[in-house]
């Protein structure tokens, strides 16, 4: 599991952790059926509170990306594979946006607008 954290960012830590897991899934570093490290392990490695990690895991569970199973911990669902399929589309979109001179932030705003 690869985690990037920016303590200065406005995004709360738990959201950044969740974003890292999503990025891993998108990049194909994590696959459906893989088990995420125990929340305690993540917390100790990164230096955050265990509850922050649990919050991240719950967020991912609500999104359907992981399942929390007794005894096994957090396991990635098939959703993960579908997310990886999205990667190609995302890259294409970013390329097109850059060709048009749009920053990624602008692109994000456009996506948010379109989906509302």
């Amino acid at each position: 599991m690869f985690i990037r954290l920016n303590p200065e960012s406005d995004t709360p830590l738990f959201a950044q952790i969740a974003a890292s897991v999503r990025a891993d899934a998108l990049a194909g570093r994590l696959h459906a059926g893989d088990r995420l490290p125990a929340a305690r392990e993540v917390a100790k490695t990164v230096g955050v509170n265990v509850h922050t990690v649990l919050h991240a895991y719950q967020l991912l569970r609500n999104e359907g990306l992981i399942e929390l199973r007794r005894g096994r911990g957090a396991v990635l669902t098939e959703h993960c594979t579908q997310l990886a399929l999205l990667e190609q589309s995302i890259h294409t979109l970013i390329e097109q946006a850059h060709e048009l001179g749009l920053s990624t932030d602008t692109l994000t705003a456009l996506i948010k607008e379109s989906s509302s």
Partner: protein
Amino acid sequence: MTQLTPQLSRRRFVLVAVWLPLVATLVSLVWQIALLPTLPDPVAIHWGASGQPNGFAPAWVNLVMTVAIGFGLPAVLAATTLRPLRRGEQGVTFRFLGVVASWLSVLINALMVGTTIGQSGLDDARDAPTILVPLIVAALLATAICVLAWFIQPAVNMPARADQQVQPVKLAPGEQAAWMRETSMPRIFVIPMVILTLVLLVAAVWALVATDLGAGLAFFVAPVVLVAALLTSTVFYVRVNTEGFTVRSLVGWPRFHVALRDVAGVETRAIYPMGDFGGWGVRWRPNAWGVVLREGTGIVVTRTNGKQLMVTVDDAETGAAVLAALAAKRA
């Protein structure tokens, strides 16, 4: 001059680790079977420290043991070694294993023949002569043959495998990164060990409760040792963070750690436990420790003092990239 190819290494290994034990076992079996009518019933199958027989069984038990240990054991050894050999790995480890296989086989087979000859013509197995003489003869014969087995195998070394350069992860100012993965021994290795442990545990409980062998808790030593071995060598957690590179087992020990300031270099490399370290698990070779629970790409960390730590783990490229970035950032 025969070409020193991986195929030659493999063929010669099979010669000393499979064919030689097969021939030795057949010779020994035939000899023992020929002597069968002259043997007492039961025969002596175990000797005490004094050299006098103290264990007896029907003659067929010896024949079974001859095949099981004289051929079965080398066969198992060869089977596990053949996979890396078929892939073209070479090296002194395999040569050594070929020697071990042939030595074991000749020793057991010669010993079986020796003890059988000793009891031929006797009415009572308790009069069987000391095991010392057949043991020494068997050992000498085995050693002579295993020296042959050494020289018949070609002397080659595995060519040094290229380390893959690692691109450090790009970190924005103020950004922190970390990486964690679990690495474990393939189930196909672990499951037989677990089954063996359970069997030994059941045997120990049974010995304690249902028989009056008087061995007490002695039989529990083996399963306890196995459980300890399983807990400390089948699952490891690999962690890259601001503290450095940490590899620790399921139960916390053994634990290997390289602080960021001690990281001189980080690479990824294809790691083959058998060829590189002579086996699976937590291994050592001069100047390097390896947590090589399986083969595959792994992270290789070189310390400032020159020693290395290698771990086979999934997604090694990312882990190495993060470690390289953190180490550089610290500098």
